[in-house]
C-alpha cells in the first residue's frame, strides 16, 4: 500500500500528538483487529479526523450490519479524549447510542485515560454493541437529540446502566 510506505517514510511527525496518532494509524493499518478498518482515504493530512468502519460481530444482534465511526482529535490528544460519534446512514439502534450518533460511554469523557487508544475505543464500542440484548434507542432519545450540543463531549452524561 503506497500510503503506508509514504507514512513510514515521514515518520518524524512534528508534535507529540501527531507522532502518537501517526503510530496508532500505522498499527491500525498493519494489524487491524477483526471487524475494525480505518478508511485510509478519510484521514486528513493533519491526522485530526479519521473515519473507521466497524462490522457487527457475528452471532450478535448486529451481525451483518456495517457502521462508521468518526474520530476527531485535538492537539492535546491523548491527554484530551477524542470526540467519537457514529456517522453515516446506519446508526446502530442501541440503548447507549442516540439517533444523532452520540454515544454514551464513560471512557469517552469522564473515564478517559491517555493510555487508551483509537483501537481500544473501537473495541470497547464493538463490545458494547455485542453485549446488547434488545435493539432500542435510549429512553430520552427524542429530547436529547433535540437539545444536545453538537459536540458529545460537552454533554454532562449520566452514564446509563452498563449491564444493558
Amino acid at each position: 500500500m503506497s500510503l503506508v510506505s509514504k507514512m513510514e517514510s515521514k515518520s518524524s511527525a512534528t508534535s507529540p500528538s501527531e507522532r502518537r496518532l501517526h503510530k496508532e494509524l500505522l498499527a491500525l493499518i498493519k494489524e487491524p483487529p477483526p471487524g475494525v478498518k480505518v478508511d485510509v482515504d478519510s484521514v486528513g493530512k493533519n491526522l485530526q479526523e479519521w473515519k473507521i468502519n466497524i462490522d457487527g460481530v457475528e452471532g450478535t444482534l448486529y451481525e451483518g450490519e456495517h457502521f462508521q465511526l468518526l474520530f476527531k482529535f485535538n492537539n492535546k490528544y491523548p491527554f484530551d479524549s477524542p470526540e467519537v460519534t457514529f456517522i453515516g446512514s446506519n446508526i446502530p439502534v442501541h440503548p447507549h447510542v442516540y439517533s444523532n450518533g452520540h454515544i454514551c460511554l464513560s471512557i469517552l469523557t469522564d473515564d478517559w485515560s491517555p493510555a487508551l487508544s483509537v483501537q481500544s475505543v473501537c473495541l470497547s464500542i464493538s463490545s458494547m454493541l455485542s453485549s446488547c440484548r434488545e435493539k432500542k434507542r435510549p429512553p430520552d432519545n427524542t429530547l436529547y437529540v433535540k437539545t444536545c450540543n453538537k459536540n458529545p463531549k460537552k454533554t454532562k452524561w449520566w452514564y446509563h446502566d452498563d449491564t444493558v
Partner: protein, 502 residues
C-alpha cells in the same frame, strides 16, 4: 426622647425583657462597651486564617495524625482528605481492623503490603528500555516512573498528563493514575516532582488548599468577592463571624448574617427569589396576546368576551379559546368550545396563584427595599464623614461628632435585621406570638426609617445641638427595639412558638 417612643417602650416591655442565649455577638462588638448587656452570649471562638496559615494548618493536621499512625506524609494527606480532614474519624477507622479495605477506599496502595525488597528498576543499563503506553516511544527505564500501583509511563507524559488535569480540568486532590481504570491517587510530592512548570505547581497548590478548606467542616472561605481569608471554628454553628476584610457572615451557611431567620428558611427564600418562575407564571396566567395585533392584554374581569384595547385593532375575541368572538355570540358569554368544569378549575387556579403571588410580593418588596437601602450605605458613610468634618468646623471635637458614624452603623444593622424579618415573616403561621413579632417589626421599621430621615437632614450651626440630640435618641431607640425584636424571636425558638407555613 420623643414621647411616642416612651410609650412604645412601656407597652412592649413584656415582650422585650426576655433573656436569650443567642445574641448576635459579632455585629455588636462595636457598641457593646456603651451598652448594658442583659445577656452575655456564649462566646463563639474562631480564627481568621490567611492562605499561608491555611497551608500551615493542613501541615499541622498531617503531623498530628502522623504522630499516631506511622505512614508516609503523602499517604496521610490523601487519607485525611478522604476523611474530610476529620482526624478522629481517620484514626477510628484505621484502628478498626480491615486494613486493606481502609486503604482501598481511600484509593492508595496499602503500604504494608509492599514486599520488603522493592525492586528498583535498574537505571544503569540502557538496554532495559520500556515502552511508554502514552507516547508509544521507547525509553530508558530511568525515564519511566509510576505510583505504587506499578503503572509506569515516561516522565514527560506524566508531566503532560498532570498539567492537563490541573490546568484544563481544575483537578487537584483527586488526580488518579494515568492508566485506564486505575483509581490510585497521585500524591502531592509526586505531582510537584513531575510537573515542570512552576505556574502549574502554584495552581496545584491552590487547588489542594481549596479542597482542604471546602471539605473541612471547621473551615469556610470568606464569601466576600476577592477575599482570600478563611474562618476556622472549633465547632459548627449558625453564628456570625467577622472576617478581617470586614465582612460579617453566618458560619453555618455562608450568607450575610441573617438573624433572626434561620439558615434553612433563608436558603429556601433565596432560592425562591432566584427562581422568577412565579412571576412569569403570573404573567402567563393573567396576560395573553391579542390574537390579531399581538398587543399584550391583561385580563382583569371575569368575562371572557375580550375587546382589544389597541384602538387600531379593537378585535373581539374569546379569552378562553382565543377564537374570534363571533361564533360565541349567543352562548351567554361562556366559551362553548371549552369544558365548563375545566374552565372553572383553571379560573380557580388562577385566583389562587394570584393571591399567593401577591402575598409573596408583599414580603419580597419590603425585603428588597431594605436590601437596596443597605447598598447605599457606602454613600451614606461618605456623606456622614463630610457632615462630621463640617461639625468639627463648628467647634465640636472629634469625639463629639462620632455619634454620626455610630448612627449609620446602627441604621445598617437595623436594615439588615429588618430585611431578614421579612423572610421569617413570610414563612410564619399566624398566632398570638407572631402578632407580637409583627408589632415589633413595625416599631423597628418606623424608627429605622425615621433615623434614616434624620441622617439626610442638613446641618447648620443653629440646629446642630438639636440634631445631635435627636439622632442619638433615635439610634438608641432603634438599638433597643432591634434587641427586643431579636430576643423575642430567639425566645420563640427556645419555647417552640413558631409554626411555619411550609
Amino acid at each position: 426622647m420623643d414621647s411616642d417612643e416612651d410609650t412604645f417602650d412601656n407597652d412592649n416591655v413584656d415582650s422585650g425583657n426576655v433573656s436569650s442565649g443567642d445574641d448576635d455577638f459579632a455585629m455588636e462588638v462595636d457598641i457593646s462597651s456603651s451598652r448594658e448587656r442583659q445577656t452575655e452570649p456564649e462566646e463563639y471562638h474562631y480564627e481568621v486564617l490567611t492562605t499561608d496559615q491555611i497551608v500551615q494548618d493542613m501541615v499541622d493536621s498531617i503531623s498530628d495524625v502522623n504522630g499516631v499512625v506511622n505512614l508516609p506524609r503523602t499517604i496521610t494527606r490523601i487519607l485525611l482528605n478522604h476523611f474530610k480532614w476529620d482526624k478522629e474519624k481517620l484514626m477510628e477507622k484505621y484502628f478498626d481492623g480491615n486494613e486493606d479495605k481502609f486503604f482501598q477506599d481511600a484509593h492508595v496502595v496499602n503500604p504494608f503490603n509492599k514486599p520488603n525488597t522493592i525492586s528498583v528498576p535498574k537505571v544503569t543499563k540502557s538496554t532495559t528500555d520500556e515502552i511508554c503506553e502514552i507516547c508509544f516511544s521507547r525509553n530508558p527505564s530511568g525515564m519511566m516512573t509510576g505510583l505504587e500501583c506499578g503503572h509506569r509511563f515516561c516522565k514527560q507524559c506524566w508531566g503532560e498528563y498532570l498539567t492537563t488535569k490541573i490546568m484544563e480540568e481544575g483537578v487537584g486532590q483527586s488526580i488518579s493514575c494515568a492508566a485506564h481504570g486505575c483509581d490510585i491517587l497521585v500524591d502531592d510530592v509526586t505531582v510537584t516532582k513531575l510537573v515542570p512548570d512552576a505556574k502549574v505547581r502554584v495552581k496545584y497548590q491552590h487547588l489542594i488548599t481549596n479542597s482542604f478548606v471546602e471539605c473541612n467542616r471547621l473551615l469556610r472561605w470568606c464569601p466576600s468577592a476577592d477575599c482570600t481569608y478563611a474562618i476556622k471554628v472549633s465547632y459548627v454553628d449558625a453564628r456570625p463571624v467577622v472576617c478581617k476584610c470586614g465582612h460579617t457572615f453566618c458560619f453555618d451557611c455562608g450568607e450575610n448574617w441573617h438573624d433572626p431567620v434561620q439558615c434553612r428558611l433563608l436558603k429556601k427564600w433565596l432560592k425562591k427569589c432566584d427562581d422568577d418562575s412565579e412571576t412569569s407564571n403570573w404573567i402567563a396566567a393573567n396576560t395573553k396576546e391579542c390574537p390579531k395585533c399581538n398587543v399584550t392584554i391583561e385580563k382583569d374581569g371575569g368575562c371572557n368576551h375580550m375587546v382589544c384595547k389597541n384602538q387600531n385593532c379593537k378585535h373581539d375575541f374569546c379569552w378562553v379559546c382565543l377564537g374570534s368572538w363571533e361564533p360565541h355570540g349567543s352562548s351567554w358569554y361562556n366559551c362553548n368550545r371549552y369544558d365548563e368544569d375545566e374552565a372553572r378549575a383553571a379560573r380557580d387556579a388562577q385566583e389562587k396563584l394570584r393571591s399567593s403571588l401577591s402575598r409573596y410580593l408583599h414580603y419580597y418588596n419590603r425585603y428588597m427595599n431594605h436590601m437596596q437601602s443597605l447598598k447605599f450605605e457606602n454613600k451614606l458613610y461618605a456623606s456622614v464623614k463630610h457632615k462630621m468634618e463640617e461639625m468639627q468646623q463648628h467647634n465640636m471635637s472629634w469625639i463629639e461628632v462620632q455619634f454620626l458614624k455610630k448612627a449609620v452603623d446602627i441604621l445598617c444593622q437595623c436594615r439588615q435585621t429588618l430585611m431578614c424579618t421579612y423572610v421569617f415573616a413570610y414563612y410564619l403561621k399566624k398566632n398570638n406570638q407572631s402578632m407580637i413579632f409583627e408589632d415589633n417589626q413595625k416599631d423597628l421599621e418606623t424608627a429605622t426609617e425615621k433615623l434614616s430621615e434624620y441622617l439626610e437632614r442638613d446641618i447648620t450651626s443653629e440646629n446642630l445641638a438639636d440634631i445631635k440630640q435627636k439622632v442619638q435618641d433615635k439610634y438608641r431607640y432603634c438599638e433597643k427595639r432591634r434587641k427586643v425584636l431579636l430576643d423575642h424571636v430567639h425566645e420563640g425558638y427556645e419555647k417552640d412558638w413558631w409554626d411555619y407555613t411550609e
